[in-house]
């Protein structure tokens, strides 16, 4: 006729209840962390995609630069174009300022990664150019 003390049963249930609340608190915290991590990953992914699309899209950069160089205003310009695996170099020993303005206007308005630039005024109408763009 040994019976359980109801206070012991009550205490056990209370401990179980407290334990379940603590566990719930832990799991909720974990959920917040996971949500935060997910949002961060998504934000990073979108940002990275757009930046890569601008600065790491060789095909796109090549196509748009070729389009610029084929412009009527630059058709007669004495431009030398060298392409490597990672860079494109556009240079000219002497370029009319009109052609230089046309070229630089388009390059600076585009999203190109210019890693080196040298423009030297030769006289009132001409300048030399060296421009290295990374793709």
């Amino acid at each position: 006729m040994n019976q359980l003390n109801p206070l012991h049963v009550g205490a056990l249930l209370l401990v179980l209840l407290i334990f379940s609340f603590v566990k719930l608190h832990e799991v909720k915290g974990e959920l917040q962390t996971v949500q935060h991590h997910y949002k961060e990953s998504e934000k990073l992914a979108v940002k990275l995609k757009s930046l890569k699309n601008v600065y790491a899209n060789k095909k796109k950069t090549k196509r748009s630069l070729e389009r610029i160089l084929k412009q009527p205003s630059l058709r007669k310009a004495d431009l030398q174009v060298e392409k490597t695996k990672t860079h494109i170099i556009i240079k000219s020993a002497s370029l009319h300022t009109r052609e230089l303005n046309s070229l630089m206007g388009k390059v600076l308005n585009g999203n190109y990664n210019i890693v080196e630039l040298k423009i030297k005024k030769l006289n009132e109408t001409d300048a030399s150019l060296y421009m290295e763009i990374q793709w």
Binding site: M1, N2, Q3, L4, N5, P6, L7, V9, G10, L13, L14, L16, L17, S20, F21, K23, L24, V27, K28, E30, L31, V34, Q35, H37, Y38, E40, S41, E42, L44, A45, V46, K47, L48, K49, L51, K52, V54, Y55, A56, L108, N111, Y112, N113, I114, V115, E116, L117, K118, I119, K120, K121
Partner: protein, 311 residues
């Protein structure tokens, strides 16, 4: 080969005035309660089943019971119901005072149900006897009777059903305890469900995150991806600054004699040479650089000024 150990059993008449004595440790007890330990009524009720009577028991004793925590019991004999009220704690306290542990008790029975006494009068302690009047066993002073017999239970066999004593009934009301326990259990279940749902959500979000990595072709770790992002962010910032600073130079309020003669950019260093500029022109020419807090260095030569800006 194997001998089964069986503990000896004793049938004991439990009375508040019983003589105290030592019991062997290996003994188990059937306890027969003295009428001094319960209230009994023989009633006839217009109900068919004992379970219906059980609901009525507290109200049937309402007018005679003192203040306390009572348990109730009933059994049927013929057309009559014998109804009982007893205090669990009082019985346990008495058992404890005579040295019987609750673990050693095999069963507890009412003397009313257990002893078939007819006309006999039995002595239960030095001053009191037990006898039957109008089918009810009662305790009376010994002096009322001339002839009394000693109550010998050594050959007694248990005939009635045992009653269940609520060891802790006086601490918490059974009904309230069940309700409270049910409430707590419900709460635990609700919290458990919430934990389950939250874990499912976590798993779902982890899947979505894994999908982001696949969809955007990210590198395996966030550290690697952050490093790549930092690299491209730096490129973006440098290119934005280069264009903004070149625009500032091109919009400089230069005089007709002042010309930009050289522009170079490499390793984040922008160098611009302007001809025919003296130190006294600096404030006017670099007004916008100062306003935008752009750090620049100037070096004046006989041809003009060389300006350097670290992007």
């Amino acid at each position: 080969m194997f001998t089964k150990f069986r503990r000896k059993t004793t049938t004991l008449f439990l009375d508040p005035y019983m003589e105290k004595r030592e019991y062997p440790k290996d003994r188990k007890f059937h306890i027969i309660l003295s009428p001094s330990l319960y209230w009994v009524k023989k009633v006839q009720l217009p109900v068919k089943y004992i379970r219906e009577v059980k609901k009525l028991l507290p109200s049937l004793f309402e007018d005679i019971l003192p203040q306390g925590h009572f348990s109730y019991s009933v059994y049927k004999e013929g057309e009559s119901y014998y109804i009982f009220a007893y205090e669990d704690k009082k019985i346990f306290d008495l058992l404890s005072s005579v040295g019987i542990a609750s673990t050693d008790i095999l069963g507890v029975y009412f003397a009313q149900a257990e002893l078939d006494m007819q006309e006999d009068v039995y002595q239960i302690n030095q001053k009191q006897v037990l006898y039957k009047k109008d089918d009810i066993l009662i305790v009376a002073p010994k002096v009322w009777f001339k002839e009394v017999k000693p109550l010998d239970l050594s050959q007694h066999s248990i005939v009635s059903s045992k009653i269940s004593l609520q060891q802790y009934g006086h601490i918490v009301d059974k009904g309230s305890l069940y309700k409270l326990a049910a409430l707590v259990v419900m709460l635990i279940l609700v919290v458990g469900m919430e934990i389950f749902i939250t874990k499912a959500k976590i798993s779902e979000i982890e899947k979505l995150e894994s999908g982001v990595f696949t969809r955007y072709k990210l590198l395996p770790t966030m550290m690697q991806n952050k490093a790549v992002l930092a690299k491209y962010t730096k490129i973006y910032q440098l290119q934005t600054k280069l264009r903004a600073y070149l625009e500032l130079f091109l919009k400089m309020p230069l005089q007709s004699t002042q010309k930009i003669t050289l522009v170079t950019y490499k390793n984040a260093l922008l160098h611009v040479s302007i001809s025919n500029v003296s130190q006294k022109d600096e404030k006017k020419l670099f007004e916008k650089f100062v306003a935008q807090k752009i750090a620049y260095k100037t070096k004046y030569t006989k041809d003009g000024v060389d300006v350097e800006i670290m992007l």
